[in-house]
């Protein structure tokens, strides 16, 4: 199981969603699919149709910047953060 940490601004959009959760997945894309199954629509908030992680979001796996293809080791930590953007 990988531990996933989500940003507050995302969690607010999905009633019942938790900032910290655990998923069974082989890579980041799989983890996002698991999140989407739990909270329908979450994949569209995290990924665009390229497909890629949205430009102003960052995903780190065990502290390293990740893409959808980045593998998840057992007990990996996947951190999703909102980038510094806005005005």
């Amino acid at each position: 199981m990988a531990r996933v940490l989500l940003p507050q601004a995302l969690v607010r959009l999905f009633p019942g969603a938790a900032r910290a959760t655990e998923v069974e997945a082989a890579d980041v894309a799989g983890a996002i699919a698991a999140l989407d199954a739990r909270w329908p629509g979450m994949r569209d908030r995290l990924c665009d149709s390229t497909p890629a992680i949205r430009r102003h979001l960052n995903v780190f796996v065990d502290g390293e910047r990740a893409t959808l293809a980045t593998p998840l080791r057992p007990h990996a930590e996947m951190l999703v953060t909102t980038a510094m953007s806005g005005g």
Binding site: L13, D48, P51, R54, H56, S85
Partner: protein, 355 residues
């Protein structure tokens, strides 16, 4: 009761008016303070939709069935094929006999048959051979107006900046550019009246006359009597050929409201720093400035393309919101205005829900 649906750069707001349209109560911001480009309501159900896009989380259409108490958001199906430039935001919404429509950036059109829960791309528009020549304007390459025919669900007009006006008569499978007579001042002298590519800013339909359309363009104001096939200039008598919004009267097809600005390279403010709505009662032959209650000095604001509208009461109400976050209301077709809110975020759209 009139409720104003006010989209802003930082969330959606609702202004609920009293019976006299004098006192207004603000609620919001809704939609998690996302940038909201357009809001509409279904008068039959009271359902409100808000379209926008967030830099972090992408495009979505938000929906409330209980006047803002609770909201959902969806972009299920609101996507182009893998590899294409992803959709950045929702720019326009419309409800017609054929269902609910959403226009997006980069320009394209989506349809929902289930009230905004899921969306289907109407690919025919982006398959039009002119598409490689569409160019982004100041707001991006946006599909910003959708005009459904009031009774024929297969007929629809859209406005793209900059691509021009396009019409479908088969529910979105095929499209025809309808820009003849509208000019492009920014093109070489011999290319100022092309078939497509004009920078249309607003597109509205005359009451009870679906073939009469009005448009505010980057380069002039126009009227068409044949569903957009041919346009004639109606800008004579106006202080400028530039502006963004247009609002049609709810019952009189000859009455139109515009809000000209001082020009595309002059700041895009109200002319002479004095605000006025300009009204025609004769389909654009003559114009009257409506200034009472509007600031007449030191006014350096603009009004964006979807930020002026009318209600259906008698006399009709007229409402507009400014780039500086002020909201003005008139309960008498523009004769007198009252500022009903200041200090809002930049206002992108103003629409009405009655009842």
């Amino acid at each position: 009761m009139v409720t104003l649906l006010v989209g802003t750069k930082k969330g959606a707001f609702l202004f609920e008016g009293d019976a006299g349209r004098r006192d207004w109560t603000l609620r919001g911001p809704f939609c998690d303070a996302w940038p909201i480009n357009h809001m509409i309501a279904d008068p039959a159900t009271g359902t409100i939709h808000a379209g926008g896009g967030n830099e972090w989380f992408g495009p979505a259409v938000w929906t409330t069935h209980d006047r803002g108490a609770t909201w959902t958001h969806s972009s299920a199906g609101l996507a182009y094929a893998a590899g294409e430039t992803p959709i950045r935001s929702v720019w326009s919404l419309a409800k017609g006999p054929g269902g609910l429509y959403a226009g997006v950036e980069p320009a394209g059109l989506f349809h929902s048959a289930d009230g905004g829960v899921t969306w289907t791309h109407l690919q025919g528009l982006r398959d039009h051979p002119s598409r490689p020549e569409w160019q982004p304007g100041g707001g991006g390459l946006i599909l910003h107006h959708i005009l459904p025919h009031p009774t024929d669900g297969r007929r629809l007009w859209v406005a793209i900046s900059t691509g021009g006006v396009f019409c479908t008569e088969d529910g979105g499978a095929t499209w025809e550019p309808r820009n003849r007579g509208t000019r492009q001042d920014y093109a070489p002298a011999d290319q100022r009246y092309p078939e497509h590519g004009q920078c249309v800013h607003s597109l509205v339909m005359a009451a009870g006359m679906p073939d009469r359309l009005y448009q505010q363009n980057h380069c002039g104001m126009y009227r068409s009597e044949d569903a957009g096939r041919q346009w004639v200039s109606i800008e004579e008598g106006l202080p400028s050929s530039f502006g963004f919004p247009a609002a049609a009267h709810p019952r009189d097809p000859d009455t139109l409201f515009l809000l000209p600005l001082n020009g595309d390279t002059a700041g895009r403010f109200v002319p002479e720093a004095a605000a006025a709505v300009w009204r025609t009662r004769d389909a654009g032959a003559t114009w009257q400035a409506l200034r009472e209650g509007l600031p007449q000095r030191n006014a350096f604001f603009g009004v964006l393309r979807q930020a002026m509208t009318t209600d259906r009461l008698t006399p009709a109400g007229l409402y507009f919101g400014t780039s500086s976050g002020a909201l003005y209301a008139s309960a008498d077709e523009g004769e007198h205005f009252v500022c009903i809110a200041e200090h809002l975020p930049t206002i992108t759209s103003v629409e009405v829900l009655e009842g």
